[in-house]
């Protein structure tokens, strides 16, 4: 009985009705989940992972989809198999949340913002278990303890926005586990989270699975996570299952080309060990790749000294500043021409603010920014505008950083129009050249952003940044939102451009493996300060600051034989960067442990 699968998906086909006729979401997908087993479903964005899982919950129907064929056999408690594909929604209602629990990708939006955590947690219990209010609350409290949320009593009465992303995701997990479902579906539960939190959540899910014996269907596109979690792996590609097998077999002996390319595209921490300069990744199916390292130069391009940026918190009757957010606190570094400095750190530590401050997209409070001899801080608005010719920015979210109402050609041409660099046919030639540069077909010029995939959009953002021939590009999480394969392509593109044009990057990311791949220098930020700064090799191979060390530990490794356990993790909650107006932080003092490798000695709060 034990190896009788809990859920079997057989030849599933899901269609969506759109204006241009039916679109097939998944086609001919079959796999099964056994009790106590974790099945990971991997594949790039749009490959049908979510659609498969939503079909099992019969929730696709609410998104405009319809199960056009196949069977969804689910083993109910009494041991009877039912085909979920054609039961009534009434019966589904008893199964959902009760026998199958689901965790969604976005912890920020998956909770209803206007109800308290307690209320949302108890809802399912009261519906399925018929519990009284007090009983349900007691159980909710228990659940919160199980997912190790600090101060669970207080959390019950809080609203979702009062919790951090990690805590929210724990609430969502607690919600899914509330009725002790026999199958738990987790749809990219950690994609939106920081490495540190991701590590904790993964460990948590692993523990819960072990303790309750729940079967888990785990959806992700991150191979490293797969390696950490899976017993068995299902690889999906364009709505089809292309490969299935035990995790070790998939990693060590992939059969399908797609699986191979997927694995090749994953940057693995430690891969760059011993290499002096960053070099592009070797990708599957690409001929004649130039994989030579990019050494850069030793001429200084950008010097940042004692940069401090604070945001005033206004309040009280006269709207005076009652406190400051110390987003960037006394940060100094330099970037050489043709080289990359990466800033890593957890969400909210001030990476973006630092990048924006350099471009003066937010006004720094004090400090010195010198770009190729130009004192940026001293410029008037007109001078600043001219100075931005030399420094550009790529933003994290390619969906948000392009104007949805403008054709791509106009978006790429806009900077040149702004500075009257080119016009008429020269302009169109240059735009076409930029499209070539970022490897986009010219036929895309008349498209709109929504007609593009995420990776393609990010290429447009890069083309736009390149349009002005800048010397410096601030890449703020430029690849974080992309699929691994696409991420690898974009990274390679960026490195290629660096090699050819001698660009310098300020590369902001929280993904240690990516940072290791692209950087010449690395700065680790914590609570507004750089706690460790140095050449990539020294920082990665010899982390000195305790925070850096913890960060390194949290990074999942794409190797199923090298799993982390919960015991390795030890994170303290990040203290608040908000201080009263009278607070004067100590200046940052560094200890040079190796040549060029600095470690903060001031108390950073970690």
């Amino acid at each position: 009985m034990l190896d009788h699968p809990i859920a079997q998906i057989r030849e599933l086909r899901v269609e969506f009705q759109t204006k241009d006729g039916p679109v097939v979401g998944v086609e001919n997908v079959s796999f099964s989940v056994n009790p106590g087993e974790t099945v990971c479903i991997v594949g790039e964005s749009g490959s049908g992972k979510s659609v498969s899982s939503l079909s099992l919950m019969r929730l696709v129907e609410y998104g405009g989809g319809a199960i056009a064929g196949g069977q969804l056999i689910f083993d109910r408690k009494e041991g009877k198999d039912v085909d979920l594909a054609n039961v009534e929604q009434d019966m589904m209602r008893q199964i959902r949340g009760n026998e199958i629990g689901m965790i969604f990708q976005e912890p920020m939006t998956a909770l209803n913002p206007v109800f308290t955590v307690g209320r949302q947690l108890t809802e399912g219990l009261r519906v399925h278990r018929g519990m009284s209010r007090t009983k349900a609350e007691a159980r909710a409290l228990e659940l919160l303890r199980e997912v190790r949320i600090p101060e669970p009593e207080r959390r019950l009465r809080q609203f979702p926005h009062e919790l951090s992303g990690g805590m929210r995701q724990r609430v969502v997990i607690a919600m899914a586990m509330a009725c002790q479902p026999r199958l738990l579906i987790a749809d990219e539960p950690t994609t939106a989270l920081d490495v540190t939190i991701q590590a904790e959540i993964l460990a948590l899910m692993d523990r819960l699975k072990r303790e309750t014996g729940t079967a888990v269907m785990f959806i992700t596109h991150d191979m490293a996570v797969v390696a950490q979690m899976a017993d068995r792996v299902v690889v999906m590609f364009r709505g089809n299952k292309v490969e299935e097998g035990p995790v070790e077999q998939i990693f060590e002996n992939p059969q399908h080309d797609y699986t191979k390319s997927l694995l090749a595209a994953v940057p693995k921490l430690g891969e760059m060990r011993g290499k002096a300069a960053p070099e592009p990744m070797k990708l599957m199916g690409v001929e004649n790749q130039d994989l030579s390292p990019i050494p850069g130069t030793n001429q200084t391009l950008l010097t940042v000294k004692n940069l401090t940026t604070r945001f005033a918190v206004k309040g009280g009757f006269f709207r005076r500043t009652v406190a400051n957010v110390h987003a960037v606190e006394d940060v100094s570094f330099t970037i050489n021409k043709g080289q990359t400095l990466s800033l890593v750190g957890e969400s909210g530590c001030g990476k973006s603010t630092a990048g924006r401050s350099i471009l003066r997209l937010v006004e720094p409070l004090s400090g010195e920014v010198n770009l190729d001899g130009v004192d940026i801080m001293a410029l008037d608005p007109r001078g600043l505008r001219r100075a931005r010719l030399d420094m550009q920015m790529i933003f994290q979210d390619p969906f948000a950083s392009l104007n949805p109402q403008m054709q791509l050609v106009d978006q790429v041409a806009e900077p040149m129009r702004n500075y009257n660099i080119a016009s008429g046919s020269e302009l169109s030639d240059r735009v076409a050249g930029l499209f070539d540069r970022v490897h986009l077909p010219r036929s895309f010029m008349r498209r709109y952003p929504h007609e593009m995939s995420g990776g393609q959009r990010q290429r447009i953002a890069i083309a736009r940044a390149l349009a002005l021939n800048p010397k410096l590009i601030v890449a703020d999480e430029a690849v974080s939102a992309l699929d691994v394969s696409v991420q690898a392509q974009v990274l390679n593109l960026m490195m290629e451009l660096q090699a050819e044009l001698g660009l310098s990057y300020l590369f902001i990311s929280h993904d240690m493996a990516v940072v290791e791949r692209v950087s010449h220098y690395v700065g680790v930020m914590y609570l507004g300060r750089i706690v460790e700064l140095g050449p990539r090799a020294s920082v990665f191979e010899n982390p000195r600051h305790p925070y850096t060390q913890a960060l390194m530990k949290a990074v999942p490794i794409a190797d199923p034989r090298n799993r982390k356990s919960e015991k390795d993790l030890n994170f303290k909650p990040i203290p608040s960067p908000i201080h009263g107006p009278g607070y004067t932080p100590e200046p940052s003092a560094f200890d040079e442990v190796e040549p060029g490798h600095f470690v903060l000695t001031t108390d950073s709060g970690y």
Binding site: G285, L359, R388, F395, N403, Q407, P441, Y448
Partner: protein, 333 residues
């Protein structure tokens, strides 16, 4: 009005680098807009009705050559006044009908069809121009208030002020100050047209301004605005290129409601004696004048009433369709 969620991207290129999506041939933007528009049933209906009405009132007089102000004289007057529309003869054989006056005449013997066409020209012109003016003002104030922190307070208080201003004294003051000079420059009807349109425009922009401000405040936080700033786009260009196209949808909604309000306000103005000269019919005035004789001559208020409603409805559907057609995200679906 939150942003439309970008649809799930089509399955991507893998694994070859920069594998292009099977690309459609490049199309011109306007062909695209038209394509989308054409497939919007409501929009096509709206456009059809609206064009029909506009053509009817503007081109109709070329076919139906009857002077809307002509009064029959002498005995004719008594014979021709108060004729009913011809369809009345279908159920009331004793009704006074006349094939020369398919929609009947009014109590002074003026031809209803000609008057409806004439009135339509004025009403539609007033509705459109006043709506445009109010949109312009509303959008301007809304964008400025949303965009600039400093102007926000004063402009929103100004909006409160205009909300509180009583319309009638305002009209009295305006006509006192400007009527003479306007009618000297643009002729009596032209002068009053400008006055009426201005008045309706400047007293109806406040709701648009509020909505636009809210949307601009939200848009300002979006990353592409920051991106535009980082590539050196000036503030005015940011507003024109990046903000306005993205707040088109609420503006369109205001526009459709605005036309209705403008047409009705104009009739209320005529009713109160501030509108066009009395021999210058508008739909609102025809409707208003007809209300007294609702029982014996129901067609008199009902015909202009139907025309007003039809215009408003068609503009509404037209606006829906345009909004969808102009939004590339919806268009792409």
């Amino acid at each position: 009005m939150t942003e439309q969620k970008a649809p799930v991207p089509a399955s991507g290129p893998v694994p070859s680098a920069a594998g292009p999506i099977p690309s459609k041939p490049p199309r011109s933007q306007w062909a695209d807009v038209w394509d989308q528009f054409r497939h919007h049933k409501g929009a096509m209906f709206g456009a059809f009705v609206f064009i029909f009405i506009v053509a009817g009132v503007y081109l109709g007089p070329l076919v139906w050559r009857v002077d809307p102000q002509f009064l029959p004289q002498g005995r004719d007057f008594l014979n021709l006044r108060d004729t009913r529309p011809i369809w009345v003869a279908l159920y009331d054989s004793g009704a006074k009908v006349n094939w020369a006056y398919p929609l009947g005449t009014d109590n002074l013997g003026r031809d209803t069809l000609a008057r409806l066409m004439f009135g339509g020209r004025v009403s539609i012109a007033v509705g459109l121009v006043a709506m445009l003016l109010s949109l312009l003002l509303g959008t301007l104030v809304g964008v400025l208030a949303g965009f600039s922190r400093k102007l926000d307070g004063p402009l929103m208080r100004l909006t409160d002020l205009f909300l509180a201003l009583p319309l009638l004294p305002l009209i009295l003051v305006a006509s006192l100050l400007f009527r003479e000079s306007l009618s000297a420059n643009f002729g009596p009807e032209g002068g009053i047209f400008i006055l009426v349109v201005l008045l309706i425009g400047i007293t109806s922009w406040m709701h648009t301004a509020r909505i636009v401000r809210g949307d601009v405040l939200a848009l300002k936080e979006r990353e592409f605005v920051l991106a535009a700033r980082s590539i050196g786009t000036s503030n005015s260009k940011i507003i024109l290129r990046h903000m306005l196209p993205n707040i088109l949808s609420p503006i369109m909604v205001s526009a459709t409601l605005g036309i209705a309000t403008a047409i009705i306000t104009e009739s209320a103005l005529s009713f109160l004696g501030f509108g066009f000269p009395p021999d210058f019919p508008t739909w609102g005035r025809l409707l208003n004048d007809g209300v007294d004789r609702l029982v014996s001559y129901p067609e008199r208020p009902i015909l202009p009433g139907i025309l007003i409603s039809l215009t408003v409805l068609s503009v509404n559907y037209l606006g829906d369709g345009l909004r969808d057609a102009l939004d590339p995200r919806i268009r792409g679906r």
